[in-house]
């Protein structure tokens, strides 16, 4: 408890408040722009945090993340185009409200719901992380190996496209992670005769390349980013307090959506993009008037926006305790943690407890900051977005990307590696191998390798050392989860086919 209060004292610094507001504004700006994701926002703004203290850097990234997820709702409400995948369902209710001339009301509802969701996510993170971190103490090498495998199968089965291609992406990422010095053994591998490869593929370099460059190529291909400007009726009034009362008038919807958001957030790979759709669907199912959904129902908007913002802090539960990113943007946060020598696990909540708790609470501050930033500055930010042509945006983001990669180790080679990986990421995406599994493979590769090699060493006394991976009961729990998550898409496919068959039989009758 003392650590927690020390963390609160750290946040009394005016610079932190300034960073929170600047981060939320920057995140809102990027998130509101269709095509630019929260992950990209974090990757582009990452270099600006290099020289900051660990706390300032983490607070900035947390605020950008929170702002970006919320920012996605602007485009969804005003032009029916989700700014980020986390706001897909926001468009279902937000845009009809805009068409009825209630755009400001919709934005206010989205703002309040996002703030509540953000705070709920922080509370989940505060209460769930410490016990899970303690549980991680029971994890040995075999368990860590299986946790890494679980992360990989989950992201492969939940990310876009086919499971097999997701797994192939993860395997490619793991192989990229093996380039350079072995974590156990210490010899260099797969340098292909190039001395520059001895240092391996730096995780942040790969992150920036794989997440940002494919989006820039997409923008260049389409020849546009933003869409036509919409007019917002300035006479329309939406009292802030009346909106707050409306949002809280159905606490069941709010609580359900937050819980759904947190459950989805804990699953590695499943972020706000899944949470908002599930929460929307459940809100519709629970409603007394489901037929009205799609015509501008406030409950639907509250469900999507609260659930997707829960995932911001909520998805950091597996990240801070086990080192497994709950969502792609968390991979960037992990990169910053490792950059400052902070390793996920119980130590984050004990030795570095003040920093960790201050970071967690700062995300709550960011959620609160969304209210003034969104309501007062939102329209101004949106005008700027619509007036920034894509042909300025692509090279400017490219500049930030190249600078950020270079600043990491003052290395031009890193810039070239980033460009190669980003271009490969764009090409791979065309054939259905998406960047998130590759990045997760790269991150989980080192966890899996250390776990695997240590387990093999521990099992040297056995005839088959690999049996060491199957020895403990906790390992078996994880193995069952790995098998289940890998089989999930097939099971769902079979279930859907059975439903279809049943439906067609009923139709025949």
């Amino acid at each position: 408890m003392e650590t927690f209060f020390l963390a609160l004292a750290e946040l009394a610094d005016p610079a932190i408040i300034l960073i929170v507001f600047a981060g939320v504004s920057a995140g809102l700006f990027v998130g509101a722009m269709p095509g630019l994701t929260a992950t990209m926002a974090l990757a582009v703004l990452l270099p600006f945090t290099f020289t900051l203290t660990p706390l300032y850097g983490l607070v900035a990234l947390g605020a950008v993340y929170m702002g970006a997820i919320y920012g996605g709702s602007f485009a969804a409400i005003l032009v029916n185009t989700p700014g980020t995948p986390s706001s897909i369902a926001t468009a279902f209710e937000g845009y009809p409200l805009s068409k009825q001339g209630r755009a400001l009301e919709a934005i206010s509802v989205a703002t309040v719901a996002s703030a509540i969701g953000g705070i709920a996510g922080v509370l989940f993170l505060l209460f769930l992380s410490p016990p899970l971190a303690k549980l991680s103490l029971r994890f040995g090498p075999s368990e860590y190996f299986w946790v890494a495998m679980l992360g990989l199968t989950l992201i492969a089965s939940l990310s876009e496209g086919s499971l097999m291609k997701g797994l192939l992406g993860g395997a490619i990422g793991m192989m990229l992670g093996t380039i350079g010095v072995a974590p156990i053994g210490g010899e260099t591998r797969f340098t292909f005769g190039m001395p520059v490869m001895q240092g391996g593929v730096e995780m942040i370099v790969a992150l920036i390349g794989l997440f940002v460059l494919p989006e820039l190529y997409n923008m260049a291909a389409q020849g546009r980013t933003a869409l036509g400007e919409v007019t917002v009726d300035s006479k329309e009034k939406a009292s802030f307090w009346s909106v707050v009362v409306r949002v809280f008038s159905k606490p069941g919807n709010l609580i359900r959506s937050c819980i759904i958001g947190e459950i989805v957030a804990i699953i590695p790979g499943a972020g706000g993009n899944i949470a908002n759709l599930v929460a929307y669907n459940e809100a519709k199912r629970a409603s007394r008037h489901p037929e009205r959904f799609g015509t501008g129902v406030i409950d639907g908007l509250v469900a999507t926006e609260s659930s997707n913002n829960v995932t911001v802090a909520g998805s950091m539960v597996p990240l801070l305790t086990l080192g497994i990113p709950g969502a792609p943007p968390d991979a960037v946060i992990l990169g910053v943690l490792l950059l400052h020598g902070l390793r996920p696990g119980i130590e984050l909540f004990t030795t570095s407890g003040v920093l960790t708790y201050a970071f967690i609470v700062s995300m709550g501050l960011a959620a609160l900051a969304m209210v003034p930033v969104g309501l007062l500055g939102g329209r101004l930010i949106y005008r700027i977005i619509f007036r920034t042509p894509y042909y300025f945006l692509v090279p400017t983001i490219g500049l930030a990307t190249i600078l950020g990669t270079f600043a990491l180790r003052n290395s031009i080679s890193d810039v070239i590696i980033m460009l190669i990986l980003g271009t490969a990421g764009y090409l791979f995406k065309q054939i259905g191998i998406h960047p998130p599994p590759i990045v997760l493979g790269l991150i989980l590769g080192s966890i899996a390798e250390v776990g695997y090699v240590q387990a093999m060493l521990g099992g040297a006394a056995y005839n088959y050392p690999i049996l060491r991976l199957f020895e403990n009961s906790l390992s078996w729990v994880l193995i069952v989860m790995v098998v289940f998550s890998a089989a999930w898409p097939f099971l769902m496919g079979v279930y859907r086919r059975m439903q279809l068959r049943r439906g067609s039989k009923e139709n025949e009758k």
């Binding site: 086919s162 192939l168 395997a171 292909f192 291909a221 020849g223 271009t423």
Partner: protein
């Protein structure tokens, strides 16, 4: 533009190609501890690739490739990025970035509007201002020494 390609076959072939590349670049004298995990991963990657190849022959997933927007613009943008990355080492960060951003902006703008000299002159000033802003932030505020090349 490639339309309706068998992406399972393509992904499987790429996976198999990468597996073979990594397998044949294993140093024979490397200690077991250092190569144990990569070997296991190569085998897993090869297995996934074989499964994708089999699926590609039996129940292929077909997808349109490179069918969004202009592929020429993507290729030229990529070329700009790589030239920019390499030129930084020789021309220095400031000069290379101004040249690359100005050229890229001009090229990408042709998809949306007509250009004339006065517009380009204004854009040049905007680009110089933008690069100078980043340059000063990184060198003066963040103390990141940026490549100087033959200029500054």
């Amino acid at each position: 533009m490639i339309r309706n390609a068998n992406t399972d076959l393509l992904a499987g072939s790429i996976g198999m190609g990468l597996s073979l590349t990594f397998w044949f670049s294993i140093d024979r004298e490397i200690m077991r501890l250092s190569i144990m995990f990569p070997k296991a991963m190569i085998l897993i990657m090869a297995l996934i690739s074989v499964l994708l190849l089999i699926k590609g022959f039996m129940k292929a997933e077909r997808q349109n490739l490179f069918d969004v927007g202009s592929n020429l613009r993507v290729a030229v943008t990529g070329l700009f990025f790589f030239t920019w990355g390499v030129a930084i080492a020789y021309l220095g960060f400031f000069v290379a970035s101004v040249a690359a951003i100005f050229a890229m902006t001009g090229y990408l703008a042709t998809a949306r509007r007509q250009l004339n000299l006065s517009v380009l002159a204004i854009w040049l000033f905007i680009v110089i201002g933008e690069v100078a802003f980043f340059y000063l932030i990184f060198t003066q505020l963040l103390h990141v020494p940026l490549p100087e090349g033959i200029f500054f």
